[in-house]
């Protein structure tokens, strides 16, 4: 019975932490850290997601198979995201254009040798 009460108390503490982290996210977004803003926001989101997965989804006490499946999926998404971001930032035809032009869909500039 004690163990069960401990579990219930833990869930309440996790909820409190999640709510506190949400407030911190909003406050941090009001300050200007330049390009670090998005890193901070996603970092806090990842801490919150980990808390949900570890405690609410019971990964902490579960058999390892659940965590293996979950972490593998998250890792695949990480690879997907990283490679797509690198790819799009390195391509000439996706280079950031001035905002004025950004809505008009333009044909890729012809590069000598690209269209034989």
């Amino acid at each position: 019975m004690d163990a069960h009460q401990t579990a219930a108390a833990t869930y309440a503490k996790v909820l409190g932490t999640l709510l506190a982290l949400t407030v911190i996210t909003v406050l941090a977004a009001g300050l200007n850290f330049g390009s670090w803003n998005v890193v901070i926001a996603l970092g806090i989101a990842t801490i919150k997601a980990s808390l949900v997965a570890l405690f609410f989804m019971h990964l902490r006490h579960d058999k390892p198979m659940s965590a293996i499946i979950f972490v593998t999926g998250a890792a695949v998404l990480g690879v997907f995201l990283t490679i797509c971001t690198i790819d799009s930032s390195e391509r000439d035809e996706y280079r950031v254009r001035p905002a004025r032009e950004s809505i008009s869909v333009q044909p890729a500039p012809s590069v000598p040798g690209r269209h034989p």
């Binding site: 069960h4 579990a7 219930a8 869930y11 309440a12 996790v14 909820l15 999640l18 709510l19 949400t22 996210t25 909003v26 977004a29 200007n32 803003n37 998005v38 926001a41 996603l42 806090i44 989101a45 919150k48 997601a49 949900v52 997965a53 405690f55 609410f56 989804m57 579960d62 058999k63 198979m65 659940s66 499946i69 979950f70 593998t72 999926g73 998250a74 695949v76 998404l77 997907f80 995201l81 797509c84 971001t85 799009s88 930032s89 996706y94 950031v96 905002a99 004025r100 950004s102 809505i103």
Partner: protein
Amino acid sequence: MSAAATLQHHFTTAEQQADASKIGMWLFLVTEILLFGGLFVGFAIMQSLHREAFLEAHHHLDRVLGFVNTVVLLTSSYTMVMAVHSARTDRRKRVIVYLLLTLICAGVFLGIKYTEYSHKFHEGLLPGRFYSHKGDTVPGQFMFFSFYFMMTGLHGLHILGGMAAIAWVLRRAVRGDFSHGYYTPVDLVGLYWHLVDLIWIYLFPLLYLIK
């Protein structure tokens, strides 16, 4: 229902049966992560290419409503895990109360989402060619709303699906199907509900708080 009555013939023990169900659920959750993952990757690329348009467009979202919805959804995750915990400890009444609280939170979330959506419909802040908002200084904001409606819309559908699943589990809890020996449906619906919460944890800062 006792644990023996719910054991299917192709499993040796109730524990093995519960483990198998759980593995299936986690595999499904991973497909959900990848489903939303595609949208997140698309958002990341388009946002990095059209920073100004995304920044300007996100000012149309109400941060307070987004924050309240985050709190509501986190709270619903807590009530859901308490329902699972109550089922595991054989407290049937509490299971019912916590499931009802979770349903109420889900309803509040969708209610707030509805007011947000109707505000945007009214202002013409719509995806793609339906965008008709007047007086923009930065062009290309329709792109942000394409992602906004696709991501929050798909998430909203998941909330609806989750509510249906919770209602089903609630009906079974009222009927007295669950005990410490068998509460897999509560457990699995809980996992699904936490995943929906987890996706919102990323959606909120990305859509409402970008810089």
